[in-house]
Symmetry: C2
Subunit: 311 residues, 2 copies
């Protein structure tokens, strides 16, 4: 089969980016949203991202460091080619269809990308309703970061055509897409999704089996925990810990700079999933306390202008 | 006090580098070795490292990327300055005194850097004998990677003047030095060691308390374990895991490239310290099996020409 019509369900930060990126790469894109209110909230996001695409492409004319692989697999582009891509971004934005109708969204859809909130009950209700309208050919993927496709496969009416396609924020620049099936996913649909990811300028990162946290968070969470444990136990200050990692590995950032990017609320939500975090004498308990104090002070990371560092 | 005479005990890879680097930075350096045989084995290492210093300094005349901060805190050096440093390296090498005598080594020593093998019994015997000869003023540090200074403080006869100063391999390039006391270390001697580290062109990384693995290995071991767990559980192949980390964090290397640098024997020795590694059904057991197979095949990392990657 060949994927032509793509539906993105959800108009949040990631949903908007996925929809625009997919349209930019030539697909017919419909965004499904829960309500007229959701449509109103999605529109300014879509416009903002479209403007980022256009501005970045303009900048690429004179500044090689502005290059984003999500905008073009080819790095060295002429001014004319960049103007054509700017037009392509505008046309993609203009072409987006927004609807609250399951029926309209699902009609003739080759691929539906679910990017609604990380709430299992809402996802189940969405899949159950969607299943009534999807055509037999439709492949369904979830962008969920924290939930596993095996939790939902039975509600989709098409477990063999259901899997995860997990994007990173600012997908035009951070253009990785982790592809992960559940035990019932059929290989041919997995392969179709890998090809689709490539077709929308993503770098597919293939998981061979289901894994909570995919690859990236499976590496990042223990690494960030280790850094936080050193600080919470007062072994060293956060600048020293970051400096150690940067000097030893040549990485551009240590754990505390990464935590500021991720956001301290997210880090806090991860640590409190550990039952030990309730005991203030344990390392998870000390980490939770440390993060809570910073969150209460409004120091939640880069977006707040201050986290472990000031920005 | 002012540190003038420095003794390095041990002529292994790190001991040789520490001795040469310390002499290069203007200190009076004596290397203590256990036997005449050890002296014979140390000499070619010292010569090899001296040649690396001279060659690197020569290369720095025409290639800015050859710059190593251990060789000069200042990066932009004239050809004349570099020639002077080459002479300084040769003079440092010529100035090194090698002895098997505790008495000769300890006489008037301001600082003794213990870099003998990672064997607690050998370290205790060494400290006990050394304690008979050290003058009151002498500060004693250990370069141990895996053992804690509190394990040995009582044998040194000077717990308040005893702490860890932990170097990285290829110290002229990887010029970090983790400084870590035990609960009985006095702050003023800690500070003296920090200053000494700076004086030999190291970047001191200060730990406020004792921590197994210091800062770097406290971050690196959980990170490498997480990567190995993904591979041993067949979640993804090693190239995909490395690629994910590199793309997401901008780091130059992922866990498997780092494992090849560290060496698979070291990784194996770390994993088998975990009792779970004896059970092949557990993740540590699977990691141990995976590493053992590669080690048995001679694929132990970069030094062997092959580890997870070919070199």
């Amino acid at each position: 089969m060949s994927i032509k019509k793509v539906v993105v369900a959800g108009g949040g930060v990631l949903g908007s980016q996925i929809a625009l990126q997919t349209a930019y790469c030539g697909f017919d894109v419909t965004i499904w949203l829960r309500s007229e209110g959701s449509i109103e909230r999605a529109q300014p996001k879509l416009e903002r991202f479209k403007n980022i695409y256009v501005d970045t492409l303009e900048k690429m004319k004179t500044d090689a460091s502005a290059y984003c692989r999500g905008l073009s697999k080819k790095a060295d582009l002429s001014s004319e080619e960049l103007d054509a891509l700017k037009e392509q971004a505008q046309n993609a934005y203009d072409s987006l269809k927004l609807t609250t109708s399951y029926e309209e969204a699902a009609k003739d859809a080759d691929l539906i990308i679910e990017a609604i909130s990380e709430n299992p009950e809402q996802k189940i209700a969405f899949y159950q309703e969607l299943a009534k309208h999807m055509e037999d050919k439709t492949i369904l993927v979830t962008n969920s970061s924290t939930l596993l496709p095996s939790m939902f496969a039975e509600y989709t009416g098409r477990p063999e055509k259901y899997l995860s396609l997990h994007f990173a924020n600012t997908i035009w620049a951070n253009n990785t897409a982790e592809v992960m099936g559940h035990p019932g996913t059929e290989q041919k649909y997995y392969d179709e999704v890998v090809k689709f990811a490539e077709d929308i300028n993503m770098i597919p990162l293939k998981l061979k089996k289901e894994q909570p946290g995919y690859i990236l968070n499976s590496l990042l969470v223990p690494f960030l925990n280790a850094g936080q444990a050193l600080l919470a136990n007062d072994v060293a200050d956060h600048e020293t810990i970051d400096k150690t990692w940067i000097l030893a590995t040549g990485s551009p950032a240590g754990p505390f700079h990464i935590l500021d990017i991720v956001g301290l609320e997210t880090a806090y939500n991860i640590v409190i999933m550990n039952p030990e975090s309730k005991d203030p004498e344990t390392t998870p308990g000390k980490i939770a306390k440390m993060l809570k104090e910073k969150i209460d002070a409004g120091e939640t990371g880069i977006n707040a202008g201050k986290g472990f560092y000031e920005y």
